[in-house]
Amino acid sequence: MNLGRDVMGFGLRLLNRFAGAPVVDKLGLRKSSEKAIYQASKLGFRTATAAARSFSAAQKLVRPARLAKNTSSGLFDLTPSEEQLMLRDAAQSFALERLRPAAAAADTACAAPADLLKESADLGIALIGISEELGGAGSERSAMTNVLVAEAMAQGDMGLAVACLAPAAVSTALSLWGNEQQQAAYLPAFTGDNSPVAALAIQEARPLFDPFLLQTQAKRVGDSFVLQGVKSLVPRAAEAELFIIAAQLEGSGPALFIVESSTPGISIEAEPAMGLRAASTARVVLKDVKIPATALMGEGSAEVYAECIQLSRIAWCALATGTAQAVLDYVIPYVNERVAFGEPISHRQSVAFSIANIGIELDGMRLLTWQAASRAERGEAFDVPAALARRLCADKGVVIGSDGVQLLGGHGFIKEHPVERWYRDLRAAGMMEGVVLV
């Protein structure tokens, strides 16, 4: 029998009965008696524990015994390397100093300024994913680096980041899945001074769009393929010189095709959207587009296509994370400076909790994205982490965008502050397929 617990139980029963008695209220004793109950129960616990246990030194210690620090085995460690941090910092300073100030105008104009795009191409983002053999800068697979760079660019502005990163998706795809002829034909252009505008087109405008079941069709006709269909929300399509287009290959499954924009049968229709406006999104209409048999990437393999979709989703997660970070960095000073009812609004719990939630969810988004990317670059299966990251970033990205607008109150709704734009952009992250790759 546990004597301690019995003593305590008896005491608490007594105290509860006393506390519940209406006479306490009647006599105005509630406050003081509550204090007495608190004190009594506190002492009661102390007495009960003291009665039940006695401590004695069972062993003599020369020094305190502590567990040694765990040595890193590489597992669970997502800390970016020094070089990755340098690359991220470089992209970030460009994004914050150059993209951010240009973003509002680009959003209104539905176009990114040409000189800014040139400047961004000069940064050489596309070269990270191209091997040194072909004039690039990469020596190993760099999904994680690309994630960090995409995140940093989106911290400036998601729409402009998409415009800047779109060509790199094509060079990354060529370097991952292109065969020797395809690489030799197209990659050198990306490493030159005047790198081409290019886009990876997967999205289609239809209900319940599934990237693994495309309406765009590719038929074998003799020695070539003929493409029919419409691709939606393709960034910078009007100026693109090269596309990688996803189409359902007859008798097989979805596959990627390299299509030069000068091929007859291709027309471009502007398709401005709610978000990503700076990326000048457009439809690419393919009508009897005849391309050579050599245009098929990865021999039409289902694994290649699935990997492309997953890597693209990770890239969108990175963009969402970057934009969500921009929201957080914008609202924190705002709520600390904005005074209402005589004090900064951050003193209100509803505001403070909202900020804390953004911080927590943002870190969750980032870690899942990094996990997926680090598995991808090590060549391990990353479908599950990529799917988890996609789900979380889609859901929480939109919530963070909306909360950002809400935290700014009336200011959130007007265009003077960038948060409404990020809210619109963040809706894209959960819906887009293709366009960017890591």
Binding site: E83, A90, D122, L123, G124, I128, V149
Partner: protein
């Protein structure tokens, strides 16, 4: 022409500085560091001169702990050809730094030492001047424009009264002011290629430099918080308030 550029690793200018509770200095653990912004400007100037064909080799130098290597990598990504890391984990006073830079300058046979006018951590603004004195070379500090002409350099300096143009014989020491140039954005491939360039590690002993101990930090304290101002509605009110304080 060989130029030496000294770069220092400092707490990033965006970081809000915090004082250690015991007043022995500022908190640097877990704080973002970057290259001293004035040194970036000095680095950029050297690279521009190299692009113009006036400079053949750029050597970046840093003094400090192991992490200083990151700063040297940044310098190499900017366009330095190689780097020298004077390793010293402890405190380095301006005179010590000047002695080390002078030793390297002599050893390398450089023509110009470019530095930032000061580092944004201790704001000493002494190293360039001391190095010039130790080497007995001309110095042109706070440069806002540098033009090289054979064995001479024309340096425009920002001074209180406006601009002053100096002509110095080379070799010389030049320190960069804020408006000398706007440093470029680092190209990502250059950052990746930087790891292939060499960083030579040396110690004060290798250079035959004795650490100076002429300065002692007694205490570091945060600046006093600014007290709240007073709002006045009219000029008369302002004048009478100033009079009341005995200021007019």
């Amino acid at each position: 022409m060989k130029v030496l550029v000294s770069v220092k690793r400092v707490v990033d200018y965006n970081v809000r500085i915090q004082i250690k509770p015991d007043g022995s200095g500022v908190v640097t653990d877990g704080v973002k560091h970057s290259m001293n912004p004035f040194d970036e400007i000095a680095m950029e100037e050297a690279v521009r001169l190299k692009e113009k064909g006036k400079v053949t080799e750029i050597i970046a130098v840093t003094l400090g702990g192991a992490k200083g290597e990151e700063t040297l990598r940044t310098a190499l990504a900017f366009g330095a050809d190689r780097a020298i890391h004077v390793k010293e984990e402890g405190e380095i006073q301006p005179l010590t730094a000047a002695r080390a830079l002078a030793a390297i300058f002599k050893k390398e046979g450089a023509q110009i030492l470019f530095t930032g006018k000061q580092a944004i951590d201790d704001d000493a603004n002494q190293t360039a001047q001391m190095t010039a004195a130790l080497l007995d070379l001309p110095q042109a500090t706070f440069a806002s424009k540098v033009e090289l002409d054979g064995t001479k350099a024309q340096v425009t300096r920002e001074i209180d009264a406006g601009l002053e143009t100096l002509e110095v014989d080379l070799p010389a020491v030049i320190s960069a002011d804020l408006r000398l140039n706007e440093p470029r954005y680092l190209k990502l491939p250059d950052i990746m290629k930087a790891k292939k360039k060499t960083i030579e590690a040396v110690s004060f002993a290798d250079l035959g430099v004795e650490a100076a101990a002429s300065l002692k930090t007694i205490k570091t304290t945060p600046p006093p918080t600014r007290s709240k101002g007073v709002m006045v509605k009219t000029v008369d009110e302002l004048v009478s308030a100033l009079k009341a304080k005995g200021l007019v």
